[in-house]
Symmetry: C2
Subunit: 225 residues, 2 copies
Amino acid sequence: MSALKLANLPESTRRLAETSPTLPEGVRPSGPRGIVLDAALRLFAEHGFAGASIRDIAQAAGVQPATFYAHYPSKEHLLADLIRIGHEAHHQRLRAALLDSSPDPRQQLMAYVRAHVRMHCELSMLAIVANSELHVLNAELAGPAATLREQSTQLLAEVIERGRRAGVFSVPDTWLAVAAIGGMGLRVAYWFSSHHELSAETVADTYAQFACRIVGVHDSNGVQK
Amino acid sequence: MSALKLANLPESTRRLAETSPTLPEGVRPSGPRGIVLDAALRLFAEHGFAGASIRDIAQAAGVQPATFYAHYPSKEHLLADLIRIGHEAHHQRLRAALLDSSPDPRQQLMAYVRAHVRMHCELSMLAIVANSELHVLNAELAGPAATLREQSTQLLAEVIERGRRAGVFSVPDTWLAVAAIGGMGLRVAYWFSSHHELSAETVADTYAQFACRIVGVHDSNGVQK
DNA sequence: GTCTATATGAAGATAGAC
DNA sequence: GTCTATCTTCATATAGAC
């Protein structure tokens, strides 16, 4: 990708709606390293890992390409850092949501989905990079994130299984429900942006209602028309 | 991506479960052009457009890199061809499903989702490339596919709107229901494979049931537990 | 830490023989 | 149509001055 193409982006269909990179509270390094991380987050989200070069990232960060290597040993390590941050933020929010929830399976499901969707709204670039570029990393660098991903999926599976055993949920296949609920939330990162007419809260609440319906729970509160 | 990395793929997390490229009936060219198209489909699906080189594609197809240019004027035109094929196959299947369906909104929704999900099972690599690489194309090459995509989305929106007006469906926001139902089906392409323990039919039927539930329709038939 | 300059290889694409 | 050979640009990454 040339610098010229970067400037001409608006002419082509965008990969995602969001235009500004956001990193979770407290993890963004100060100084040039944070600027480089922001630039890489945006460019990896928009063009993918292979579609954004060190030169592109350095230019977007306002430094020379060689300066990048004062902060990261390689482009792949930079990606690994972003993917780690993304998976940790995701998993931590899910776990916190479940810990704050009442033990009722329906409340747990709604808490999980709300946190899942809110993360994909508020950290959409990070979610896209973490989800769609993990395959680029070698086994050693991908391992920790892959483990977190599996644990996050497992959390949802357990919520649904508990609801089934309690006779509250009714689904033909737990794994398919997990895939459907997780997948629909994941896709939010591509069309949501901080300028969307709907708020992240509204989207999260509505998707939580959709998730309840998927597992066969009728509405008792929440958004309705 | 080097040839060496290609051979070592199993060591890293895969982007998708499917391993063999499939093109829709009747559109795969015979001879070397079809072999090149198959090779590009697999490599673009696994590594993305920017992550697969002409040299990789040529090697996978068993020809020299220069031979590629006897069939396509550029790498971007090859991608445009795959994306066109994918969007046309998707749209044609959706339209056929709706035409074959009774006018009942619930039947139409199930027909749409079944076709949507089956396409993402049976042509998973094509769906991934068409969906996740469109942003690479310039406006001229992306235009036709973007139009088809919008029309396919609009079809689902109209089905849901009709169901709402008929008082059969109950959703807080048509667009969010479209995004959720479309998105969960799209994600199937990443985890389904021709060797999956569940059949494409089973997945499609279950997702059709999920879609009915999302729009607030109770079960009357279909998979249930 | 940041720079200029550069080593080394891989990228897309073409020339021209057969 | 396919090949060998090659042009040109861009890639990741490093050396070494400040």
